[in-house]
């Protein structure tokens, strides 16, 4: 029964478990945040952002091919509610959170002073936790199968929540590292956490799928 639970869980969540996909997103976010933090005022030279986007898209495509070739392809039935709808809403919400984080004037107008937390990091933590719980929910009876995945998702979300408290945690070393603000340090850390989470999820998938099997000669 344990093995059948493993088979059902991995098949139903195959695309979510392809952790390497978050590598270009994490590296891109960290690199873009670092680059923008080094700029003095708004930059008109968009060479680096376009280069980051191009390299990340290429890396994402290569990772897609890697998974198809090494682990195979699975087609899942289309279900719009609730996972796909929430994922669709995440992009505009993340953009709004980014604009909110990087414009202290808006924060001061709404709250009276600058917020000590990054809304983008909190939103990413909530998104990852929600996505993880959604993947686990149909398999909650199979505790042995899903416990380690829940631990990965929980640890990732906690790290992202920690990364959101930029004023309290990163103000000192952001200034020492030459970054413009502690929000930039928070974004770089979100990128690093996404990379780590992706690597650990990939290891989890590799463990659950098992080693490649060759034909006996």
């Amino acid at each position: 029964m344990d093995d059948l639970a493993r088979i059902r869980f991995v098949t139903a969540n195959y695309s979510t478990l392809q952790g390497l996909r978050s590598l270009p997103i994490g590296v891109g976010l960290a690199a873009a945040s670092y680059w923008s933090s080094l700029q003095q005022g708004p930059s008109r030279d968009l060479t680096y952002p376009i280069l980051f986007a191009g390299v990340c898209s290429l890396a994402y495509w290569m990772i897609d091919r890697y998974y198809a070739r090494v682990f195979g392809r699975v087609k899942l039935p289309r279900r719009w509610w609730p996972g796909s709808l929430v994922r669709l809403l995440f992009a505009p919400l993340a953009l709004a959170a980014f604009v909110f984080d990087t414009t202290p004037q808006v924060q001061e107008r709404i709250f009276g002073n600058e917020l000590p937390v990054s809304v983008f990091a909190l939103l990413t933590a909530a998104g990852i936790l929600f996505d993880g719980c959604l993947s686990i929910w149909p398999f909650r009876r199979y505790r042995k199968t899903v416990a380690s995945y829940l631990a990965i998702v929980g640890a990732g979300s906690l790290l992202l929540i920690a990364a959101s408290f930029h004023q309290a945690l990163f103000a000192g070393w952001a200034a020492a590292a030459g970054l413009r603000s502690s929000v930039d340090a928070s974004y770089i850390l979100v990128g690093v956490v996404l990379v780590l989470l992706g690597l650990v999820t990939h290891i989890y998938l590799t463990d659950k799928m098992g080693a490649p099997v060759g034909d006996a000669v």
Binding site: R8, T11, A12, G72, V74, L76, G210, V213, D215
Partner: protein, 114 residues
């Protein structure tokens, strides 16, 4: 015969084989999967997986579609309505057997054991 042996006798041998049950379980959780995925997930050799798939296809439990993707042969396998019903019936029978072996009445709720 006792109810336990009745249930054992009623098990579909074609579905009950561990390798074929693994294949059908994976296919019942998705719309379709390719050969590479099934081979990796079930840990069967290519030849072994092929022979099990042929048996399941002959019984009308799965459908296979052979195409070329990126100039490489790609076999996409999906479960049929009959296959889905067969595997669901089999899980139900296994659950009944487990409950009977534990001395639980069939109409009692499952214990939630793995």
């Amino acid at each position: 015969m006792s109810p336990l042996s009745d249930h054992l006798a009623a098990l579909d041998r074609l579905v009950h084989d561990p390798a074929r049950l693994s294949i059908l379980t994976a296919l019942a959780s998705c719309q379709s999967a390719d050969f590479t995925f099934l081979q990796r997930l079930t840990q069967l050799t290519g030849g072994n997986l092929s022979s099990h798939l042929i048996k399941l296809e002959e019984a009308g439990l799965v459908e296979m579609e052979k195409t070329f993707k990126d100039r490489r042969p790609n076999t996409r396998i999906s479960i049929t309505v009959r296959g889905r019903q067969a595997v669901q019936k089999h899980w139900q029978q296994l659950d009944d057997l487990r409950r009977e072996a534990q001395g639980v009445q069939p109409d009692e709720p499952p214990s939630g054991l793995e």
